[in-house]
Symmetry: C2
Subunit: 345 residues, 2 copies
DNA sequence: CTGTTAGCGCCTTCAG
DNA sequence: CTGAAGGCGCTAACAG
């Protein structure tokens, strides 16, 4: 039974009125498959037929339906998924930029979903990506338990953890060398003559901050400076809390002469507090951003864009040859010295 | 560094080894449709059957295939597309965050593609989105001619221009009130007693900067200050060029006492140049960001996240009722006064 | 060179 | 409450 007279009533949904390949074929007076061949640039088509089909396609404003194509081609989409906590954080936005670039080089489109930093929302978000049949899934993990991902990975979808490893589950990972970076950053402070150096950042239970606090301790230990836990403030996840903690540090009887800030937000908060008190406390931060450069803040720098690129490339390697041990890629950091490690003007 | 061997059962293509609904049905000993009913939460299924199917699904690690579902449901994806020039610019990242939030409230996933600020790449990028049958397309236009979008819109896909209008084509648009914002920002400088106020930003041929330069002129004109075109520098699209232009301004025989910066990058460059010269030139910027706050720079502020939200909501309204005239939504801005409009410390 | 046939995985008729 | 067909738009096999 051929479907010659399909009644196209009203375009209830967008797209429902779009021409299909058979519409094009009919208008061009060729078979469906011939039209398909032309539209997919297959060889073995007479030139005159080709132009006839192409003309019909433009006349009908034909757009191939990638959904149908993807279904036909194994039910896998030509997309790569990125599950992110909060796109509002410029750091993750840059990672996304790196992924996007790399993906588009491979003809894949980036599909993104934010879990709004809510650990409970991570799994549904990931599931939705998987249902969309993304070719690979990159994610910045925030849930407490990622055991649920094990099965997915075994089903063949490469899963790459970005910026921190999964909890209770193995996977490919791309992270920065937080520990070494923090150590070197702290060392810059020591080299500048400081001995009483505080740490301001998030909870050590956060992978990145745990590593950074460790690096900070490494540096002090290496220089024979005893660690005073009262000036290790890991209670500052936001700009405001960082400013708060710094104020307390500065107002104490034995204030630090230098501060190592655990991330970009902490650095802003610390800087603000120092400015408020008018002290010349030295500062080194982790993460390089516009404001750090503008303010002359010395930092442990890295490249979030590269992180995205590396993660995407790792996913593609998995796609091309599924075998091999899990990889744990550690991206190096570098210390960018400006002025603030000496004092804050 | 842990190296665990990945167990690969069926190393074919990802997804090829995934269970389908009929696999689930077979294992559960029911018909395909019954399984489907259970998995879509339809009523009218005996509880015992339901659990049987659910058990089979988990056993098989079944994941519904959204590609097939979308094809079935009219060939339209449950996604919304965003074509962006450069995700690296925090401004656009924030717009994307707003879109993402709003989309996920509606059960849609964001698919994003960057054209890398290359006007030539815009159209292919848009086309790829359309082939993916996104329900709506938001884009930050950069091509010179958007006539090609007319037809697409008529085919039923809502198309919303974000941050600037299309060229040579009509569409729904969401923009900021750049002109009024720039006027008010410049006025703050005038109110602070400045009379010789320079403009540093991108080419006026860029919609946003054209408007902002106009607002700047409005303010000067309104205060009876003649416009000296030699201090209107629209040759500064980047941080570096902005710093360069500012340096020239500062080194001239008749330097300005204040500068209005056309956007976030310009503000950074201007600030850097002022710091380099050590002058106390006043500054007001367009766009509010961390560094502006950290540096005490007064700015014309707005909400990129809201812009994304508004644009997405407009798209959804179009989806729900396709009728009505094209809309041109203008988002207001506000002046945030810190210290730099008086002088730069 | 071109056409016919047969599904990809899912869900909505329409029957039992 | 459950099952049997049919088809969304497209392309890979096979013919001719």
């Amino acid at each position: 039974m051929t479907n010659v007279d399909i009644p196209r009533d009203k375009p209830a949904r967008p797209g429902s009125s779009r021409a299909t390949i058979s519409d094009v074929a009919r208008l061009a007076g060729v078979s469906l498959k011939t039209a398909s061949r032309v539209l997919t640039n297959s060889p073995n088509v007479k030139d005159s037929t080709r132009t006839k089909v192409l003309d019909a396609a433009t006349a009908l404003r034909f757009r191939p339906n990638a959904i149908a194509r993807d279904l036909r081609n194994g039910g896998v989409a030509t997309t790569i998924g990125f599950v992110i906590g909060d796109l509002t954080n410029p750091f993750y936005a840059l990672v996304a930029a790196g992924i996007s670039q790399t993906a588009s080089d491979r003809g894949l489109t980036l599909v993104m979903a934010a879990s709004d930093d809510d650990p409970k929302r991570e799994r549904p978000t990931v599931t939705s990506m998987l249902e969309r049949r993304v070719q690979a899934l990159l994610l910045v993990p925030i849930a407490e338990d990622h055991a649920y991902l094990e099965g997915e990975r075994q089903l063949g979808t490469p899963i790459i953890a970005v910026d921190r490893p999964l909890s209770h589950a193995a996977s490919d990972v791309v992270v920065f060398d937080n520990r070494t970076g923090a150590r070197d950053g702290t060392r810059a402070l020591i080299d500048a003559g400081h001995r009483r150096i505080a740490f301001v950042g998030s909870s050590e239970s956060l992978y990145t901050h745990g590593e950074r606090a460790r690096g900070y301790r490494d540096a002090l230990g290496g220089a024979g400076i005893p660690i005073d836990e009262s000036i290790v403030r890991t209670d500052a996840p936001s700009v405001e809390t960082a400013a708060q903690s710094t104020l307390q540090l500065l107002d104490s009887s034995e204030p630090p002469t230098a501060i190592f800030a655990g991330n970009n937000r902490a650095a802003i908060g610390v800087h603000r507090a120092i400015a408020a008190r008018g002290t010349s406390t030295a500062l080194v931060g982790f993460d390089d951003f516009d404001f750090a450069e503008a303010l002359g803040i010395s930092v442990v720098a890295h490249s979030p864009v590269d992180m995205g690129r590396v993660a995407a490339n790792l996913a593609f390697r998995r796609l091309d040859e599924m075998t091999g041990p899990l990889e744990n890629i550690v991206l190096s950091t570098s210390v960018t010295l400006r002025r603030s490690h000496l004092f804050t003007p």
